[in-house]
């Protein structure tokens, strides 16, 4: 008997609206000791990636849900201390009452690119729910059940999917005996050929029995394949394949849904950033030395946008059902590219209208850094009312971003470029001067925001930037 009482580790509620999470990594192995509050596993929700601290000290007696599996909030993931629980009792991931939410809020939560997960594991989300969780042993660290070389070979020779075989090995692993018994018993799935999985569309050759150099063991066909494999075109020479990460899938779904939802229209305006440039040059040293932050153009634009949005509540609004929602606050989302260049996340600075330039600079620096480090809190990617995206870092001067649902608009900031600019001199004469010019785009949902409104918004935003009032901001 163990001396301590068993403590259950459950899928935490990562923000009010999140109903399920994917285990991306167990940081401890079964049988390992873990201290209270020590990071135990990493999870990915459609909001955020985060570490889950251990709820208590003791030996990690049992891991019930493997990496890659997606389960409902409240599902028991592991047991700490006590005796190894009967795998049957607690292991079944049961749907716990995830607080039902208004559809719109649910939609809000799936905010642009918010689904975040490291690259790597495919999370065959829904399917995984029903599959009985396997114990840690026998499953590899990436959460996939280990298929030994000989089992893979036999499976390929007989066209059997090892996942169909009941495993009796460690951690439920399918042993050579298991698969041979399965084949002998004729329990073999109907002679349907293993559906042409994306990569090597190989017919399941009936392989002459003891062929030492058999065909490469087939990858344990991902259970998630069926749906996508159905429409997938056969592979062509020179193509290679990689699974979509949960984040990629999240982005794909959100982008498509946004375009299907909003009537996207983009207006652009040119802004003379001379004044901002001058102030920025002046503040730069002070900001960096005293606060360790950089007063970037983006911060100036964000500050001015937050101010302008207060005057244009619809641009900061939302269509919810047949109601128009407006707010007395501005929650600014910032699209942040992940370091690997394979995804983005949109952390939100809440109540941006209450922050001055320095405060906003600090907030954005902090939140962007934590987004890259995957240290965001779930609430920090939710509740945005307006989004700023900055693809100008690479020199582009125009774009048509996609609105983060269910917001009404997204502001694009672009490269500051020195251009010949017609200005009036002291005498009121037109002269050509060299000015740092930035394009700004506002992509708005024409269902709510008309072109004239967008134009006025951009005009006012430009006005604030071109006549930057240091005292006010």
């Amino acid at each position: 008997m163990a001396t301590t009482e068993a403590i259950d580790v459950v899928m935490p509620q990562m923000g009010v609206s999140v109903s399920e999470g994917t285990i991306t990594k167990w940081l401890k192995e079964q049988g390992e000791h873990v201290e209270a509050d020590e990071p135990l596993l990493e999870i990915s929700t459609d909001k955020v990636d985060t570490e889950v601290p251990s709820p208590g000290s003791g030996v990690l007696t049992e891991i019930l849900v493997q990496e890659g599996a997606t389960v409902d909030v409240g599902t028991k993931l592991a047991v700490i201390g006590g005796e190894a629980a009967e795998p049957t009792s607690g292991s079944e991931p049961q749907a716990r009452e995830a607080p039902p939410e208004p559809a719109t809020q649910a939609a809000a939560d799936a905010s642009m690119a918010a689904a975040s997960e490291g690259v790597g594991d495919v999370a065959p989300s829904s399917q995984a729910d029903s599959a009985p969780p396997r114990e840690a042993a026998g499953a590899t660290s990436n959460g996939k059940t280990f298929v030994s070389p000989v089992v893979a070979k036999i499976a390929s020779e007989h066209g059997v999917d090892p996942s169909q075989v009941t495993g009796t090995g460690r951690g439920g692993r399918v042993t050579k005996k298991d698969i041979l018994g399965f084949i002998e018993s004729g329990a073999q799935a109907p002679p349907e050929t293993p559906a042409p999985a994306p990569p090597p569309a190989q017919p399941p050759e009936p392989a002459p029995a003891p062929q030492p150099q058999a065909a490469p063991p087939p990858a344990p066909a991902p259970a998630a394949a069926p749906a996508t494999a159905a429409q997938a075109a056969p592979s062509q020479p020179g193509e290679s394949f990689e699974p979509m990460t949960a984040m990629r899938k999240g982005i794909a779904e959100h982008m498509r849904r946004s375009l299907d939802t909003s009537a996207h229209v983009t207006s652009a305006i040119e802004v003379d950033m001379s004044k901002v440039t001058a102030i920025r040059t002046k503040l730069k040293k002070e900001y960096q030395e005293n606060y360790g932050v950089n007063p970037t153009y983006l911060i100036f634009v964000a500050r001015a946008a937050a101010e302008t949005l207060r005057e244009y509540p619809w641009v900061n609004g939302e269509i919810r059902g047949d109601q128009i929602v407006t707010r007395g606050y501005v929650n600014l989302g910032f699209a942040v590219e992940l370091q690997d260049g394979k995804g983005l996340i949109v952390p939100v600075v809440k109540n941006a209208e209450t922050l001055n330039l320095l405060g906003l600079a600090k907030a954005v620096t902090d939140i962007a850094q934590r987004a890259r480090d995957k240290n965001l809190l779930p609430d920090e990617v939710q509740g945005g009312t307006f989004t700023i995206t900055n693809p100008g870092g690479y020199g582009t001067f125009h774009g048509t971003p996609v609105i983060s649902q269910p917001q009404a608009a997204i502001l694009g900031t672009y490269a500051v470029v020195k251009r010949p600019w017609v200005v009036q001199d002291d005498m009121g004469e037109d002269v050509i001067a060299i000015r740092p010019i930035m394009n700004l785009t506002l992509t708005y949902d024409h269902r709510l925001v008309d072109g004239a409104l967008a134009g006025r918004f951009l005009r006012d935003l430009r006005e604030k930037l071109e006549t930057w009032d240091e005292a006010a901001y």
């Binding site: 026998g138 030994s148 070389p149 000989v150 893979a152 070979k153 090995g169 692993r173 042993t175 030492p212």
Partner: protein
Amino acid sequence: MPELTYLQAISDGLRTEMRRDKRVFIIGEDVGVYGGAFKVTLGFQEEFGHWRVIDAPLAETAIVGACTGAAIMGMRPVAEMQFADFISCAWDQLVTVAAKQRYRAGTPVPITVRLPSGGGFSGGPFHSQNPESSFAHIPGLKCVCPATPEDAKGLLISAIEDPNPVLYFEHKHLYRRIKAEVPEERYTVPLGKARVHREGDDVSVITWGAMVYTAEEAAQQLDGDGASVEILDLRTVMPWDKAAVLESARKTSKVLVLHEDTRTGGFGAEIAATIGEEAFEDLDAPVKRIAAPDTPVPFSPPLEKAFIPQVDDVVAGLRELVAY
């Protein structure tokens, strides 16, 4: 067929060859008047005379060097190291001269070096080692490790017949403990051929020397679990019967390599690596090694017991593989 101990079988094999072939002689410390430290050559001097049963000074270099010279001149010398551990003194003669002579000059060096090896009787660090892997590593040398009386005789005769230097590791712990029927007539057991000691389907043990018996006891315990264990007695570590090992590995798909020598760089590593290279697709579990820890052999009986792989260790290892 008479029942002989492992030790008697070695004597019998040596005597058979000395009677048959006048070129065969034995040289070593106390092999003559005293009959050898373990009495393998007891009565030999009386039968063959002191020119064919030569008491040598305490100089392993001289013993192996003399054998090498005699072999080059056409003799079939058998050297006895009092303990296998002392072979280190003869390293240069054996490794630099004997092992390379055929390659350098084309002259065969048909010497046999008998090496009483292994532990299990508190002999301590100088009298208990199993240095076969050190010599298996040297191209030009062969290493023989018999486990049964029948193999002890047949392999010794093959070793003496072989035109290369052969190191014949005779396990001291088996000398009088193991007894079995041994054919009276002369016969040979080919070098490089393993022996299926026990047939099984679920897991293979690849081993040699005294560990064959440890494996056998462990396998009997596994019978109680309903798991059938195959034991392959390698008999010769160099050349080793790769085909038999791979066949067994392919058959059971789970392999335990067991030896009394220390783990790192032990010959089991070579076997495990070869299985990984050549039978990868037939494996259903990682190849497991059980060997002594990387320390000198301890004197203390409990420590020595902890050092040499015991039946319980092998049972645990086998159960782990079966359950994998």
